[in-house]
Symmetry: C2
Subunit: 225 residues, 2 copies
């Protein structure tokens, strides 16, 4: 398997989409799929799909295509999805609460095991089947419960401070929903999702729509390896 550094960045993003589409096809009972069909479902060319998958060696079968179940297993291993992950959410506002209750995370193997909030008003309340805990519990919780990922769902102005606390507590990666760039030390990964940026990209496209085009945009993400 190639080192992560020689996986083209755009390909890494598409890997998640292949996995999502393949899972859906597996549910439908499909046993094999070819690059043409897979590409069609995702708005990609067949060549693109083959190039992406060939990065990891011989995943397909000439003349027959790819075996759906096998390809899913390979991609899950490649993506680090062949094991469970634990995460905590910081911020019990509208977004934080929605994320804690987002069932798909658990179904996909990402367990949210704690929610924290900096405001006394929120601490102690129930969110999903968790109780909101004070920020002062963060460090111990991360250590004791072995929490690996942190999800930031606090307002812009406290986001960096929360990120610092997460890193200090020993978290390895951060999913950031606050509308600002988060800076962390090397070794910590960050992926950011900004709803306003997403909506703005949509406005940009709608405002200037006129030519047929197929684009692929993403969350802003930064890895410090």
């Amino acid at each position: 398997m190639p080192h992560r550094r020689d996986i083209p960045k755009p390909a890494a993003r598409r890997l998640s989409l292949y996995l999502r589409e393949l899972s859906s096809r597996l549910e439908q009972g499909e046993e094999t799929v070819n690059s043409k069909a897979l590409g069609l479902s995702l708005g990609l060319t067949d060549a693109q799909v083959r190039k992406d998958l060939a990065i990891f060696g011989q995943l397909g079968h000439p003349g027959r295509g790819y075996r759906v179940a096998d390809l899913i297993a390979s991609l899950r291993r490649i993506m680090g999805r062949d094991r469970a992950w634990t995460a905590c959410v910081v911020g019990a506002g509208n977004i934080g609460r929605a994320l804690v209750s987002y069932d798909r995370f658990r179904k996909e193997g990402f367990s949210i095991v704690a929610v924290f909030d900096g405001g006394a008003a929120m601490v102690g309340r129930e969110v999903g089947d968790l109780k909101v805990r004070p920020m002062s519990d963060l460090a111990k919780a991360v250590a004791v419960e072995g929490i690996e990922l942190g999800i930031i769902a606090v307002p812009r102005d406290s986001a960096q401070q929360v990120a610092d606390a997460l890193v200090a507590a020993g978290i390895k990666g951060i999913l950031n929903f606050a509308p600002r760039r988060i800076v962390v030390r090397d070794g910590i990964s960050i992926v950011s999702v900004d709803f306003t940026v997403a909506l703005e990209q949509l406005a940009f496209q709608v405002a200037g729509a006129s030519e047929p085009e197929d684009v692929d945009a993403d969350p802003e993400d930064t890895t410090h390896g």
Copy 2:
């Protein structure tokens, strides 16, 4: 101003980040900024910043940098942000409700003026200062209230159907939070945000972290022009 088709896709995504950073600097009272400083805040090189901004002509002042307020005004015009946008949310589950209550949208000029839900149990309830309406109201509401954008926050299996209803109602663009690819006719734009994909990208990075690297991922988006 160049046609939208000759704006590099990655540059279009960065435009939103410039705007976000510039607004923050304006709040701080900064009057000018140079490409070096702007790039530093966003993890980009100065050359990159200049190339992106130069797409639209002479936005800067040699020897002085860029005037923050002027650059914001230019970018807003370019992005279609020099006017208000109206949107509706479909799906009053956890995510839909969080989006309706997300204040930043309104502050940035995106007004959510209606929420719809297909389930009788949700219809009639209050979400933020809106009342959840039945799907049967969608077409008329879009027409009467001139709603331009639709936000999909329903489960995967009803997402395409909701998209079809939005398009039939006359919506011009869709922000999709359901975990599947949405297909629409030419002339309709789509931007998708998938929380699981974002978290998976993070797991991928963390699982294989070892080399320093700076990546930029995004929401999946598709424009049909």
